[in-house]
Amino acid sequence: MSVAVGTEAGSSRRTGAGRRFTSIAIPLLLAVLAATAIIALTVGAAGIPFSRLPAALGLAGNAAADAMTARDQLVLWSIRIPRIAATAMVGGLLAAAGAIMQGLFRNPLADPALVGVASGGALAAASAIVFTDSRFGETLRFLQTELLPLAAFAGSLTTTAILYGISSRAGRTSIAIFLLAGVAITAITNAGIGLLVFIADDRQLRDITFWMLGSMSGATWTKAAVLAPVLVIGLGACAYIARGLDLLVLGEADAFHGGTDVERLKRISIVMVSAMTGVAVSISGVIGFVGIVVPHLLRLVIGPAHRLLLPASVLSGAILMVGADTLARTIVAPAEMPIGILTAAVGAPVFLGILLRQRGLASL
């Protein structure tokens, strides 16, 4: 007998009623991102007050009327706007990669930066810096901008695949083995990076050190153009895998019973996490904890359903990174603080907070 028809009240209910903000989450986050970006436009080594912003952006008439406007335009269009755009996309990619990885491993502590996926990408990026030197021919040197993201993606993909291979057995993923394998992989990649540091010349050394700390100071339009297609493809993939990731919370066998092609879901998730992390890392260097903090806080407010969690993570990650980057380039102006230091200072306590909450619940 099929289930009888329910009550009138039941059919009009939204899922997860009792959770607030689910319907307004996306517009609200978009508004906050816009506000954060506008503030980020105005502050920095060369301050541009709000009153001059419309003219500098070319929104008000008779632009380029005076030298001040010309200077503002130069600062905005060649430095600040590409940097904010790239920072927002890096933040969105890192947060979404974290949320997907947590769904894949069914654990809120999974993060590409924490388990060596980001450092796998950084190792490959550092290799690209060292081995595309002019010693090996001008062509490679010329191709460095294109090679870096590809190398970082390959490095991240390799580490994610190794990680999944080690921690999954017969359809089950051991979280303890997963985290410990992540520690070991991070150690191996760090040893590799150390070796590259050892053989690098002074200029390469400076470039490599920049990966290790994480910074958006090198952001350009070209780099923003590398990030944009990955973000677009990533958002499309997020919409496609959202329901499968929800069902995966039941375990691989039961996700299959519920109609999910689990193997395909895992393949897409692993490739997307690797691409998003690798490309972000190739632009910004290793920035930890964005992928943990953002999805965790969002789950508390809007719930764990991935259809909303993944796009909300992209927007919140962008807000967090643009805010942190604005702070990074102002608190010790005219110098810049590496943004990785800021995100770790905020993120590590949140990570410990999750651990403390989980401690009583279940063994890893």
């Binding site: 007998m1 099929s2 289930v3 009888a4 028809v5 329910g6 009550t7 039941g10 059919s11 009009s12 209910r13 939204r14 899922t15 997860g16 009623a17 009792g18 959770r19 069914r106 654990n107 809120p108 329901r243 929800d246 069902l247 919370v249 039941l250 375990g251 066998a253 039961d254 299959f256 019973h257 519920g258 109609g259 999910t260 092609d261 689990v262 789950r299 719930g303 764990p304 359903a305 619940l361 279940a362």
Partner: protein, 266 residues
Amino acid sequence: MSAVIEARGLSKRAGRATLLDGVGVTVAPGEMVAIIGPNGAGKSTLLRLLSGDLRPNEGEVRLKQRDITSYTPRELAARRAMLSQHINVTFPFTVEEIVLMGAGERSVREAGPLVEAALDEVGLSHFRERQLPTLSGGEQQRTHFARVLVQLACGEAEHGPGLLLLDEPTSSLDLRHQIDLVEAARRRAAGGTAVIAILHDLNLAIRFADRLIVLNGGRLAADGPRTDIVTREIIRDIFEIDAVVHRSDDGVPYVLPQSMQALGPQ
């Protein structure tokens, strides 16, 4: 009537161990079958083979006259629903969100009444907005049963009577909810669903099912109506206990174990 599920010569090995050896099962629409047997008899392996989750080393499974391996996971989910044991949900999904997962791609508007009715049937309407990890083991099991009922109802609405597989569905339930669950499954059978359940409680299995399948050591030890299967001899051979078999007023047998200690060599 043609069988909903038909399995022939199923063998499954893991390394050198043989989990299942040449087992065949056919279940018709509206039939209720309980699989019984001691630990390690191959009950869960058989159920996972019938669900399409595992592939046999030998033999084949046909679901609704089609090779089960020819279905995509989504097509399969529309024709058979399965309740597993020990599902551990780590993220704070609410009861309602979990049950709605059974409805696949259907919108909340479409699936709302089904979700409501299933929650009502397992007695969890008042827990709709509670987060699953905060509930007791039995309440979580009932939530997953409701999810499986929604999946079954959605599939049957499109493809007619389907297959419901239950792997020890009553293991964490109190007595009242054991009966409730069994009766809910019976109602599905009355509507044409083929139901196969692994049950450890022999008396519940007898009450619940018209037909018992007995597995022992990976082989089919017996398959037939409950009155034929439930005899002192079979229980002694399979479970290695001595038991008295009585009949209740309606003629249904029940089993009273006499000694929980294994019998010596006979």
